[in-house]
Amino acid sequence: MNHDPYSWGRPSDAMYGQYNNAIANAPNTLEHHSSGSNFNENTTRPIVTGTSVIAIKYKTGVVIAADNLASYGSLLRFQGIERLHKVGKTTVVGISGDVSDMQHLLTILDQLEMENNYDNDEYSDNVDELQPSYIFEYLANLMYHRRSKMNPLWNALIVSGVDSKTGKPFLEYVNLLGVKYASPSIATGFGSHLAIPLLRKLADSEEEAAELTLEQAKKGIKDSMKVLFYRDTRSSKNYSLAVIDKDTGIAYDNNVDVEDMSWKFAKDITGYGTQRV
């Protein structure tokens, strides 16, 4: 049953005169109001969203982090949504933006991994093993293809990992427009304003990143997550942190909390809300 009163029909104009559309701003025609037909079903704006993903390369791998929150506008709607995803043996994909589009991407990545498992295993010496670069190329083509159909997946993705053959760290970005780039440190959303300056201080070039230790990289990411929690209203204290190392593989922790916060500065903030000036 259609529960919208406007689609229930009404007596003919001949009997009661013209309907006054000004009342309750009623639509002029039923077609306009009934769902479907006139609306396109493409994503034209994100609904439930995940905020920044941040990552940095170091000597032998990559550190990547994203919080576990999915917001519905300004409502902190779902607090257990992980946005870092393992694909294959040496890749972690971090996804920000629309969460339903992210979940769609995950089903695709699952299929990709499954297909790869059919013809690639230890018996074939893992020659066709999924590498971060393969996964990135696939996702970048998918994102550009969808934008070119004017039906984008409303996300910004960071693909991180190490090439299992060469041991080289990999870090690249692609977004809903299909714009892609590689950099020693990458962040999406607010992270690009708040975290990138901190991370570039650690490593502003590939050469500098190749000198960075895991501890330095991890500290940089943790500090950045703290700053993001301070300043990004759509962020949460609880986040996921993944380290992909060429020697030790993927270390994934989905339950990290922002530590050593100090809100002392808050007492000096004046100009908002209830307070004595």
């Binding site: 559309n21 309750a24 701003n25 009623a26 639509p27 002029n28 306009h32 006139n38 609306f39 493409n42 994503t43 034209t44 704006r45 550009y144 934008r147 070119s148 004017m150 984008p152 970005y173 427009l177 299909g178 714009v179 892609k180 780039y181 590689a182 950099s183 690009s192 304003h193 990138i196 502003d204 070039s205 590939e206």
Partner: protein, 269 residues
């Protein structure tokens, strides 16, 4: 309440383009050509990366013998230097599409794609097969015009050697209008550098002293060193004045010996 409300749905439009800044510059000399670009990729006021590549060297395979002659060679004399500037996703897609066409074209000339040489020619010697600059340019026009109603939002410049071995530069607008030129700048710094190059490469507004501005200075080819100086000066200057230009300068030089590249740091601010 807004007048639209209720009567019709509010239209949200997805904008499929973005401006990723940067500048691309090509100069043709008598027996060489240069294609240069900065390596910054940005969007709005953010720098995405300090090292992205806007120029692709599309070349027949570089043989060991060529490497022996010069170790820093990255392409043969039959290469196409392919540069795009504007919306980087379209730039990457266009580059990929052209590279694909280039490979099939070379393949269809009965050549060996692995070695880049034809299996046999009339003198029973191996001849490198490639795509002429003229053909490359026409192909790029087709690629661009094929998307006339949803354009690749890029300024494209090709550089290479023509069939006489002379340097050539072809420049394109987003929908495929193209022209062979002596020099061209595309992208964010175009309006700042192009007039400078008009003056320094094509000697525009230069008159012979003492003729009371009646006799123009005669056009002559610039040497490679003079061109490289111009390129470096142009990029250091535009880095000062344009926010989306900076970080690094990548220069590709093609001549009869092949393609080599140079990298110079630009200001990172």
């Amino acid at each position: 309440m807004s007048p639209q409300h209720g009567s019709q749905p509010i239209q949200h439009q997805f904008n499929p383009y973005s401006d990723n800044g940067g500048t691309l510059l090509g100069i043709a000399g008598e027996d060489f050509a240069i294609l240069a670009s900065d390596t910054r990729q940005s969007v709005d006021y953010s720098i995405n990366t300090r090292l992205s590549h806007k120029i692709k060297v599309i070349s027949p395979p570089v043989t060991k013998e060529m490497k022996l002659e010069s170790t820093d060679i990255v392409g043969t004399k039959n290469s196409v230097l392919f540069g795009t500037n504007g919306f980087s996703a379209d730039g990457d897609a266009l580059t990929k599409a052209f590279e694909e066409n280039w490979k099939w074209y070379v393949h269809d000339q009965n050549s060996n794609v692995e070695t880049g040489f034809e299996f046999l020619n009339e003198n029973n010697e191996e001849k490198e097969s490639f795509m002429s600059m003229q053909s490359a340019a026409r192909n790029v026009q087709h690629l661009l015009y094929g998307k006339r109603f949803f354009p690749y939002y890029v300024h494209t410049i090709l550089a290479g050697l023509d069939e006489e071995g002379k340097g050539c530069v072809y420049s394109f607008d987003p929908v495929g209008s193209y022209e062979r030129e002596q020099c061209r700048v595309g992208g964010a710094g175009a309006s700042l550098i192009m007039p400078f190059l008009d003056n320094q490469v094509n000697f525009k507004n230069q008159y012979i002293p003492g003729t009371n501005s009646t006799e123009r200075r005669k056009i002559e080819y610039l040497s490679l060193d003079e061109c490289l100086k111009l390129v470096k000066d142009a990029f250091t200057s535009v880095t000062e004045r344009h926010i989306t230009v900076g970080d690094g300068l990548e220069i590709f030089i093609i001549d009869k010996n092949g393609v080599r590249s140079e990298y110079h740091a630009l200001k990172k601010d």
